[in-house]
Every structure is written in structure tokens, then in C-alpha cells.
Symmetry: C2
Subunit: 280 residues, 2 copies
């Protein structure tokens, strides 16, 4: 285990066994790319945390404290990834949330993984997963700690050349990849599935939707993907990633993918970008 962990501000890699995150998955998380001490797209991460806390009835810590802890953990890393988890803290046995629950902050940093240029140039192969997202509007969109469906979906393949999985919901609608959001270009329109019934509303997806109002949120079925001229994924760590194949069907990155990759790249490499806004 890495030593780069702060739990409620204390440098320790150990969590009390009665933590409700461990007991029930009672909490939320974010995976944040930190560039020279600056968490990329932090306002979007922070907004998702605040919405998640409100929906789960968790007390949200002061964002300034979270920001400070991310900086402490990554001060000697030019590029880092921080997993930031919030749990409902310690509590006695039983589902009932404690009347006075103390939200626990668990931040773990690691050096950022090297970007794979081939992956961005050529794209990833997508496996159609048998495991589906259950429909649960009460939790939809949140990056909460109940992630067994994605664990089971990701366990469906071990081929290292197959880097992502396509997941449908219980009604057979397209939702996302296992750890990224999905976009499809169909008849010249760029579409991404709605996430009000299940799925994780990614920060990179939110950024793309805000930057590019032409992208439409729409219901998609697997048959629609067969007609797509382009498919691509978004992830706050990997950015915009083309899909090179969906199962046996091969495809090449097209103009929408290239344009949004360029847009992401401009944001990601602009050292002056702080908190998601370009400083003057």
C-alpha cells in the first residue's frame, strides 16, 4: 500500500473496521487527475460530490479542505491521480444512518499512469457485457460506493487487448462503458445516453456536454450502435478515447472524435487552466 493516504487529514493507510463505506458501501468517490497540484475539472468533481452528499444525506466536507489535502498528497508529483472517497463514517451495526454521522474523508494519491498514445490514436476494443445496470433512479448518476455491477461486468473478460466493456441497463438500453461514458455518432449527430435511471454521470461527460451543446442526450439501443459511424468514450483520467471495435465490428476514429479529443487536449495541456476555467 502506498504511503500517500490521508484519512480525515491524518497520514495513515488504515480505516476503522466499522466504517459504513466498508459495511454498506455508504458513501461516494471521485477519481481526480491532479496536474502540478491542480485538480483538473475540480468544480465538476466538487459539484458531483455535493449533489451526491445531498442525495445520500451526507454532510459534505468543506471543499477547501479537500483541495488542500489533494495538494498535500501530490506536492512532489507533477501528475497524479487522487481517489477521494467520502463515507458516512463509523457507526453501529444496522442500516439506519447515525443521527449524528461524521463524514470520513479518505484520499489516496498515486503517480498518474502514463498515457498510451496508441490508445488515443487508434482506440480501444469494446466487449459487450452480459452484466447489466439495474434501474435505480435514487442512485442514478452518482459515483457512489456500490459498484458490484461494474466489478462483475469488468470480470467478464481478461484479454488485455480488450480494454473496455459496453453495458446495457435491464431494459436493454445502452448506458456506458464499465469505467467511462459512451458517445455515438449516428446520422451525423453526436449522442450520449441519459443517466437518470442508472449509470455514473462522468465529469468528462459533463465537461463535453457543457463545451459542446450540439451533443444530444438520447436513448440508445445496441442496434443504434451498429449504425454508428463513430463511437468514443470519455473519462476524467483518459479524456476522449476512440472505440476501434465493438465486439467483432471494427471502426475508425472519425471527425467528431478527433475534434473532441483536440478540445480535451487543449484543456488538459493548458497549464493555466485552473478549476476548469482558463485564467486570464
Amino acid at each position: 500500500m502506498s504511503g500517500r493516504i490521508l484519512i480525515d487529514g491524518v497520514a495513515t493507510g488504515l480505516v476503522p473496521a466499522d466504517d459504513r463505506g466498508l459495511a454498506y458501501g455508504d458513501g461516494l468517490f471521485e477519481t481526480v487527475w491532479v496536474e502540478a497540484g491542480r485538480p483538473r475539472l475540480w468544480p465538476l468533481h466538487r459539484a458531483r460530490l455535493e449533489i451526491g452528499c445531498a442525495r445520500l444525506g451526507l454532510l459534505c466536507p468543506d471543499p477547501a479542505v479537500l483541495l488542500d489535502e489533494m495538494r498535500q498528497l501530490t506536492s512532489d508529483l507533477p501528475q497524479a491521480v487522487v481517489r477521494l472517497s467520502l463515507t458516512r463514517g463509523s457507526g453501529p451495526r444496522g442500516y439506519a444512518p447515525p443521527v449524528v454521522a461524521q463524514t470520513r474523508r479518505i484520499l489516496a494519491a498515486s503517480p498518474a499512469p502514463a498515457t498510451n498514445p496508441a490508445l488515443l490514436a487508434e482506440g480501444v476494443r469494446l466487449h459487450s457485457c452480459a452484466t447489466r445496470w439495474a434501474i435505480q433512479p435514487a442512485l442514478a448518476g452518482l459515483k457512489h460506493l456500490n459498484r458490484l455491477e461494474q466489478v462483475l461486468a469488468r470480470a467478464e473478460w481478461s484479454d488485455p487487448g480488450m480494454s473496455e466493456g459496453l453495458m446495457l441497463d435491464m431494459d436493454g438500453r445502452v448506458v456506458s462503458a464499465t469505467a467511462a461514458n459512451l458517445f455515438a455518432v449516428i446520422d451525423g449527430r453526436c449522442l450520449t445516453p441519459a443517466l437518470d435511471r442508472c449509470g455514473v454521470a462522468g465529469v468528462a461527460r459533463a465537461w463535453l456536454l457543457a463545451q459542446c451543446p450540439q451533443i444530444e442526450v438520447e436513448t440508445l439501443y445496441p442496434d443504434d450502435l451498429q449504425r454508428a459511424s463513430e463511437l468514443f468514450l470519455s473519462s476524467s483520467l483518459r479524456g476522449v478515447v476512440p472505440v476501434a471495435a465493438l465486439d467483432a465490428r471494427r471502426m475508425g476514429p472519425g471527425p467528431w472524435t478527433r475534434q473532441l479529443q483536440a478540445l480535451w487536449q487543449a484543456m488538459a495541456t493548458d497549464a493555466a487552466v485552473v478549476d476548469g476555467k482558463v485564467e486570464t
Copy 2:
């Protein structure tokens, strides 16, 4: 935090922060009543753990080790409750299960809560929850660590006189209470909902079904419960508990409830019952 905790056999109350149970709810648990060092209905708990491990692809620890650890933790307690969790252990960031995952055992014991005779005599009040169970056959029946739905359902009421909540699935079928299984007596038949689409298949429910083959597993809707002459709950800690009221509708414990309470009581108080079988 109680000192009665063993993690992989070591007396510590601290879990590594990279545990996948904490990161993704990637694991299972059991809540076991231990009477004079003997875990009640252990073969049923063990069977559910083994089924859960098979379905999640976890390596199941030797049951003899679990049994020994439960006894160590409860040696000076006449009656205890042990929460026994199994997680996929530590792992790097990412949903993909590690190729070689070491299942982590987390056992925490506490003195058994005092039985409330009024609760068993008169019954509990049941609140109809707005939060529903998502339909997810891949996880249905298991007591896994993804329990946010029950946390949200249980958070719907704070009236201490209201002790349980009725939960439906997304299609409006009756599933269970938030922390107990449900039985309804309708037209003289004793019925309990199927749990192959969602819900937790409780050990007490399994025991009652095995003891009493007249109990039928059937699809139930809220309207059916309005016609029920009796409702009762089953839980491995509380046994058979009558329902005294469903929202505004009051009802009294009937003959089915009383008979199954007596059956449970005979099992629970028979000191010679070991491993669910009566010793000669």
C-alpha cells in the same frame, strides 16, 4: 470501536484503505447470532457465503477458520452477534478484480442485544418505503456489501415506534422489509416473495422454508398485503416477529405467526442445537 475484531485472524480494528470492500462494496457479509460459542444456523450462513463467493468469484475461506474465529471472539459472551464480512481484499485502483485476490476476513463481535418481549408478543409497525429495490438478478439473494438502497429506505423514517420498512421492487412487487424477510398469510396460505430478482435471501427465511414446506414462494403486490390476515418478519437475530401495523392498518398476530414463533423459539433455546441439527 469495540476491541472484539479480528481481521484475517489478527486482533485489530483497522482495515487497509485499499480494501475493495471499501472501494466498491466488493464482498459479502453475514450477521450471526452466537449462543455459548455456537453460531446459530451456521450451515445456512456458511451455505449462503459459499454461494455468494461462487457468484462473485471470491475465494471462500475455510469454514473451520471462520468458525474458530467466531468462537475466539465470543468466548466470554453467553450470547453474541458476529458480523462476518468477506471482501476481495486489497487491490489497485480499477474495477477489474485482481488476478490473484486474497479474500479478507473481517469479524466483529458484540454482546447480543436484549430481546424485547413486547416486540415478539405484539409486533412491529411497518412503514411503506418509497425507496425501491432495483431488479438485478446477478446479485439477487446475496447479502453483498452494496446496501445503499436499504440505507436510503431505512433513512425514510425516524419515529422510534416504527421499527421496519416495507420495500417493493421497481415493478411494484413486494420484496421484504429493510432488514428482514416478509411473510403474509392470505386466504389461509402462508406466502413469502421470491428473491431471484432482488432482495436478500435471509437465513431465517431459508430455515422456515425448510422446516415448513407448506410455506409457498409467490409473487405478492401491496394490494395482496391489504388482504392478509397476518404479516410477519423473519431475521436471524430477531427470529419470527409479528407485524402489528402496516402504515395505518392495524392487525394482530395470528395462528401462523404464533406457530412459527414457537418453532423458532424451540430451535433457538435448545442448547443442544449445533450447526442447525439437533444433537443426539
